[in-house]
């Protein structure tokens, strides 16, 4: 028998059978990448924008207020937490550690919490915060695009949000994302 090296049918390339396979592979890659993405991590449009202004009472001292303006000229971290948030307990030791290192001041935003619950939670798990602002209604949270605590922001000397972390702050995030960013921001005017 002669080996077939000519096209069996006139005018058709013999490689055409590979087309469906190629299409399938392309689709598989596309879907594979998509499935690997986390839909809960909604990219924030606030990165690169000025941190929204607000004035809230402080958690421990209801008569005193806090506003982000007070932090101008410093690189700082805003951490949104709540006593009813289970995941916050997971990241809390990391924040306590970070606060001890003195790299940057951490301000807490106590989101949709009763004052006494927030205070009790900090007493129990430790307080890494220079102070916590008490956002009882959650209005400030909405301004910051908060939809699932814990959420953490790094804000630069000019009051611009430079980084947002949705979810727990892990030691890897601290060492790989936050600390390098803070060094860089501290070098800025």
């Amino acid at each position: 028998m002669t080996t077939e090296n000519a096209p069996a049918v006139e005018g058709r390339s013999k490689w055409r059978f590979l087309l469906p396979l190629a299409a399938f592979l392309a689709l598989a890659v596309l879907l594979g990448v998509g499935l690997g993405l986390n839909p809960r991590e909604v990219p924030s449009p606030l990165v690169g924008k000025p941190a929204p202004q607000f004035e809230l009472p402080q958690l421990h001292r209801a008569d005193a207020k806090f506003s982000p303006d007070e932090m101008r000229g410093k690189v700082w971290m805003l951490n949104v937490w709540a006593s009813w948030c289970v995941a916050c307990r997971e990241e809390h030791p990391v924040l306590v550690q970070l606060a001890k290192s003195g790299v940057m001041p951490i301000i807490g935003l106590n989101y949709k919490d009763k004052r006494e619950d927030g205070i009790a939670w900090l007493a129990r798990f430790g307080d890494p915060y220079q102070l916590s602002a008490h956002d009882e209604k959650g209005q400030v949270g909405i301004d910051y695009g908060v939809y699932g605590v814990p959420e953490t922001y790094v804000i630069d000397k000019a009051g611009v949000i430079r980084y947002k972390r949705i979810g727990v702050v892990t030691p890897q995030i601290v060492s790989q994302k936050i600390l390098p960013l803070v060094s860089e921001l501290n070098r800025e005017k």
Partner: protein
């Protein structure tokens, strides 16, 4: 009579029912365009998540204060991004999302039609001289009867 006029204002009572109903309609209509970011497949109109309730209240307050629907949507997108829109906007980044499925459907249909038509045409297409020679060779080697 005077009391009836003064009391509602002092007590901060809700506005008369007529205004409420019209406002509620607008709140619901707008809420159906906004996604609940916690239960991500629901609108804030449907979802019972605390965030959804908060956002709906925000929408109501803002509509009552005179903000337009367009402004409220911009407000939400500025804070939560495009994902907060229940219907993804048609942008360069979402072209595949909007036009991909119809394109796939059309190309599938086209392939199907082409294949069926070719099969029909193929049956009655006469063999070329080269193909006839091959047929003869194959039949000979197979040991069949000559036509």
């Amino acid at each position: 009579m005077l009391l009836a006029v003064v009391l509602p204002a002092a007590a901060g009572e809700a506005a008369p029912a007529v205004t409420d109903a019209a406002l509620e309609k607008r709140v619901m209509a707008l809420s159906e365009e906004l996604r609940c970011l916690v239960c991500q497949n629901q609108t804030i109109a449907d979802s019972h998540a605390p965030l959804a309730v908060d956002l709906k209240n925000q929408v109501r307050e803002k509509l009552a204060s005179g903000m337009s629907e367009r402004d409220i949507i911009d407000y939400m997108v500025a804070r939560y991004g495009d994902f907060v829109l229940y219907r993804p906007p048609v942008k360069i980044t979402t072209l595949m999302l909007w036009f991909g499925p119809p394109l796939l459907l059309l190309s599938g249909l086209w392939l199907f039609v082409r294949t069926v038509l070719r099969r029909r045409a193929g049956k009655s297409r006469p063999l070329s001289a080269a193909e006839q020679a091959r047929v003869r060779t194959l039949l000979d080697s197979a040991g069949g009867d000559r036509p």
